[in-house]
């Protein structure tokens, strides 16, 4: 029966720390964007979020829905761009976790779970890219 050895504890610590760092980074970026957002738009009336139509997004939606729009926003220091960058960084934290586990399983020569992790990773990546069409 396999018990939790030192190497596994090390990996768990690494994953835990990576999650912490990723989350902190994402939060910092989003806070920067958010501060900018409030600074520029704080006094404006709240946006109307009461209805949503997939086929009729609000004007200027590319700034927060497409990668090029977001990166463009980041380069020009827009609030929407930086906030979405923070969201993307947040999204990457679980992906990093799967990636690290994959590497760990390979190091342990646990091919079964390396394969399982690879399947999970590819489902996420394929779905993300597929939606970009």
């Amino acid at each position: 029966m396999k018990t939790t050895g030192n190497k596994e504890r090390d990996m768990q610590l690494l994953i835990g720390n990576t999650l912490r760092w990723g989350v902190t980074l994402a939060c910092a970026v989003a806070l920067a964007g958010g501060a900018l957002y409030l600074w520029k738009h704080g006094a404006e009336p709240m946006k109307d979020y009461s209805s949503f139509d997939y086929h009729a997004l609000p004007a200027g939606a590319e700034t927060y829905t497409t990668l090029s729009g977001i990166l463009d926003g980041v380069a020009h220091f827009t609030a929407a761009g930086w906030i979405q960058l923070g969201v993307i960084a947040l999204l990457l934290t679980p992906v990093m976790r799967v990636l690290l586990s994959l590497c760990d399983f390979v190091l342990q020569r646990d091919w079964l779970y390396a394969a399982i992790s690879a399947v999970v990773l590819s489902v996420i990546v394929c779905n993300s890219l597929g939606g970009a069409v």
Binding site: I15, G16, L19, L38, Y54, Q84, V87, D110, I124, N127
Partner: protein, 278 residues
């Protein structure tokens, strides 16, 4: 109200969501959706996008603490994540065809299920003999006891657990929530995993499941920066506070309050969904 007011209120609400979410083992998404739809009249789709952000924030924020303690079963989580991610892809695909009322009713039903599951007796499932499938998949593990020693456990009904996880994934794709309740049902109820291991592993998995449909959500435009910003930061700080408090608080009273609260919200959701108010 102004953007500033809205943001600050949402931030505080999200903080409470993250706090409650990490103290009770449920994701922050459960509180964020009713907060946005019932209190602010926000369209359900934006609320689902916000819930997704909240789920990942809760999972990654407090999950790191649980991984360090060595309770989470990473292999079990990874194996089940095949089911949840595939389910999430399917759910996100289906979500386009659902209107607000349908989403509200599904959400209400999930809340009722959540409240019911909270009442379960928590079991350590001593002496469970693992199934052959579980053994070949190396799904057994150990978890630290209060005195610091490690206790071994085995599990069974791998197929059943996998099936429930597919459903959990689909729900996550539709509602943006982490479906923590179904994950705990699958692990604790069907696979006979010790309760603490199921809740921490479920918390751990929530983020990955949410990730699977997250990019699609961004592209559809339901993750809106003005909402995402206060939700994300509020939930993160709340979840971190919750993880620190967890050791010191008596959580059972909190769970009872939470249970009553989500039942009320569930009834409200279903009523509004059925009468078409959304």
């Amino acid at each position: 109200m102004t953007i500033l007011t809205f943001t600050v209120i949402l931030l505080l609400g999200a903080y409470c969501a993250g706090l409650l979410g990490s103290l009770t083992g449920l994701g922050g998404g459960v509180v964020v959706i009713p907060l946005l739809t019932l209190a602010f009249g926000v369209d359900f789709h934006y609320a689902v996008g916000a819930a997704l952000v909240a789920s990942i924030a809760t999972s990654s924020g407090s999950g790191s603490a649980y991984v360090k303690e060595g309770i989470t079963n990473i292999r079990l989580g990874m194996f089940l994540e095949i089911a949840t991610t595939i389910g999430a892809v399917a759910g996100a695909a289906v979500a386009i065809w659902l209107d607000n009322s349908a989403i509200a009713i599904i959400y209400g039903l999930v809340l009722i299920l959540t409240a019911a599951m909270q009442q379960r007796r928590k079991s350590d499932h001593d002496g469970v003999k693992g199934s052959e499938a579980a053994r070949r998949l190396k799904l057994y593990g150990t978890w630290p006891q209060k005195d610091g020693s490690l206790k071994a456990y085995e599990l069974k009904h791998v197929g059943g657990g996998f099936g429930v996880m597919l459903v959990a994934g689909v729900l996550s794709g539709i509602l943006g929530i982490g479906s923590g309740v179904l994950k705990v049902i699958a692990m604790d109820g069907i696979m006979k995993v010790p309760f603490k291991v199921s809740t921490t592993t479920s918390n751990f998995m929530m983020g990955v499941t949410a990730c699977a449909s997250a990019v699609v959500y961004i592209q559809r435009g339901i993750i809106e920066p003005g909402i995402a910003f206060p939700v994300m930061t509020g939930v993160l700080f709340g979840a971190l506070t919750g993880a620190k408090l967890l050791k010191r608080l008596d959580v059972s009273l909190l769970r009872k309050i939470f249970c009553v609260a989500i039942l009320l919200v569930a009834v409200n959701m279903i009523y509004n969904g059925v009468t078409g108010k959304f």
